[in-house]
Amino acid sequence: MIESKELLREEEAQKIAKDLNDNYNLEKAASMIKDNKALFQYKETKYKVRMLNQQDKDELDLFKRKKFGELLQDKNILFEKEIVKLYKERNVADVDEIDGEMKKFWQEIKDLRIKHGKALEDKEPESILKNYDEQITECVEKINGIAYQKSILLENSFERTLEHFIVKMTSWLSLEKMENEQYKRAFGSIEEFLTSDEELITTAVSFSLSINHGV
């Protein structure tokens, strides 16, 4: 009897914690939407991640071009197309086949969505609606698995390397810290930013991805 009471309390506590977390996330999102800024505190220092202004974008563009040139001259960095071809030649993986599978599942989702949408319009019983919910969820999970597989295979491609660089640069450019009641760029260089605390980097990147990339 006592055990089941404890279980109930634990479940209730978990539910409250989840609700609080969800509400916190919603409040954070609402605040970011209004002014494209995210304020947070880390180790007693106040930080802000904001949307890049035109000056930042010009700076980012310069860094991007420089990185593009560097990567282009590095013969060890291959383009996606080259990697896909090499994988095929060495019988390691067939990325085109993976793309084909994803396309197949996407088509299945589209077909299911039409039937699902019609069922919703026709006010079909819950059992039918739930069936479609489950079928679509299954397809989405399969696509996510395949997409993850593909991203691992192409992780070190030219395109992904450049993409990661842009995300890191954007995060660095958009991160500011409070000093003498004013917000100023938190780190003087990208190297300083990347060698700072892991938790700070993760938080800054997460907010920057939301504000600057809508992810």
Binding site: N36, D133, I136
Partner: protein
């Protein structure tokens, strides 16, 4: 973030604010008037998305069960758009379009 944006845009308070900004001068959703971030564009997209959905629910075109989860909402929205293919351009299908095209029949019905 995507889920948070959707959940926000779905809330009655945000829908009311959205309607108010359309009908009353001086009420704004954002501090900025232009140069909207991707985040803001997505949020606007979902405001229109749910506005459209709530409209269909109130017109009894679909039951409230459509709001039970994102899968149902997306399915119904996709089904609706496929039902009226003349309103979809190739470009719109792949991008974010902030203003939903109104079906010509509905426009005629709704016009005073």
């Amino acid at each position: 973030m995507g889920y948070s944006l959707r959940n926000l845009a779905k809330q009655v308070e945000h829908q009311n604010l959205f309607i108010a900004t359309k009908e009353i001068n001086g009420i704004k959703l954002f501090y900025n008037d232009s140069d909207f971030s991707r985040l803001q564009q997505l949020y606007l997209y979902y405001l229109y998305f749910y506005n459209d959905l709530y409209m269909d629910i109130s017109l009894k075109k679909v039951s409230e069960k459509v709001l039970d989860n994102f899968i149902r909402e997306d399915s119904y929205s996709y089904y609706k758009r496929q039902k009226n293919p003349e309103n979809i351009s190739k470009k719109e299908e792949n991008g974010i379009h902030l203003v939903f095209n109104k079906n010509k029949k509905n426009k005629n019905k709704g016009d005073k």
